[in-house]
């Protein structure tokens, strides 16, 4: 499954969320990560985030795709981060 994670959390917790999410997904730009993820890891990620965020004031959004075949990704301006397995 492919997932795009977008989060808007209190500044105090931004780093915590980022650190957790980086274990599973590729950082794309501020507060946005994306990547291929397995069902089990998706659950793990959600649980880890749940522990970090304050459900009263923070929000995390997950967009999931079974496949990326019918999606298209365009970018404008600077490429800040992303995927690619060849470094």
């Amino acid at each position: 499954m492919f997932v795009i994670l977008v989060y808007d959390v209190n500044v105090k917790r931004v780093n915590k969320v980022l650190k957790k999410a980086r274990k599973y997904l590729n950082w794309v730009q501020n507060s946005v990560l994306e990547g291929e993820i397995s069902d089990a890891n998706y659950k793990k990620l959600k649980m880890e985030l749940q522990k970090v965020i304050n459900e009263e004031e923070d929000s995390c959004l997950f967009y999931t795709f079974r496949t990326t075949r019918y999606t298209n990704r365009e970018s404008m301006g600077v490429k800040k981060g992303g995927e690619g397995v060849f470094i």
Partner: protein, 330 residues
Amino acid sequence: MKKVIYIFSDGELKRQDNTLKFHCEETNRFLPVEDISDIFVFGEVSFNKKLLELLSQKEILLHYFNYHGYYMGTFYPREHLNSGYMILKQAEFYQDKLKRLELAKAIITGALKNIRQVLKYYDNRGKELKSFLERIEEYEAQIDSCREITELMAVEGNARECYYQAFDIIIDNKDFVFEQRSRRPPKNHLNSLLSFGNSIIYTMVLSEIYKTHLDPRIGFLHSTNFRSFTLNLDIAEIFKPILVDRAIFTLLGKKMITKKDFEKNMEGIVLKDGAKRLFAEEIDGKLKTTIKHRELGREVSYRRLIRMELYKLEKHLMGEREYKPFVARW
């Protein structure tokens, strides 16, 4: 499926925030540790023990290659699938001459069938390969009558030689003529491509073996020795034609790699960095390609097929189902 990371740049691989970070002059990239199965290191990369700890914990294999692109070794994390039973079975089949021969025959049959499949494709595309196809078929017929592993190896060697002759017709480029197989070091351009590609496949199979109960030290076709892993060499025989050789034909056919991408040093010819990267990308793309599996009825990638090959071997060793090698259909 988890990803394979290929590092060609020079830099530092670090553990940070319980994930991996590659730090070099151009980029500073975090790599999602949960989505990585192996790391291939070609560049000059430094790392420390706490990184190895994380790799062990996450069961990630780290393969390293030297400056010339030769396979040097693998950081093989603690075995996580321990099975005394499977090792005993493997040893039993290795020591029983008939059982070992039977398995070795199956592996070579698979390899030759896949070789024929590759040749057939180019034959249909108007290359004159009929005579080669016939000769490979003859060698295939000889497999059955072999009584010794050495005999079998000889048949395989001859078949491969005949197959490599066909490369000249398929590639049809005077910069890349085959002449003869030379290794350590490869003496011409085509040979150095073959060596590099094969070493990637050998290590990829090793990675897949790590995820099964099998022990990479006990191979069946290649005899077990004191030094190296051999089971990965066995299984790689089956996949070399369809993964490495096809990648070579693509790269040379599209002129993505030319004579300029090589340099001569120390008696041999080696690939330059850019070309290594292109080649690795091509093979990685192949490994990710999916095909419809007839028995399972769903799409599986070539990488998964390698693993399934190992599962079939396990089944054979346990006496559940006879091992039949994978044969490509196109």
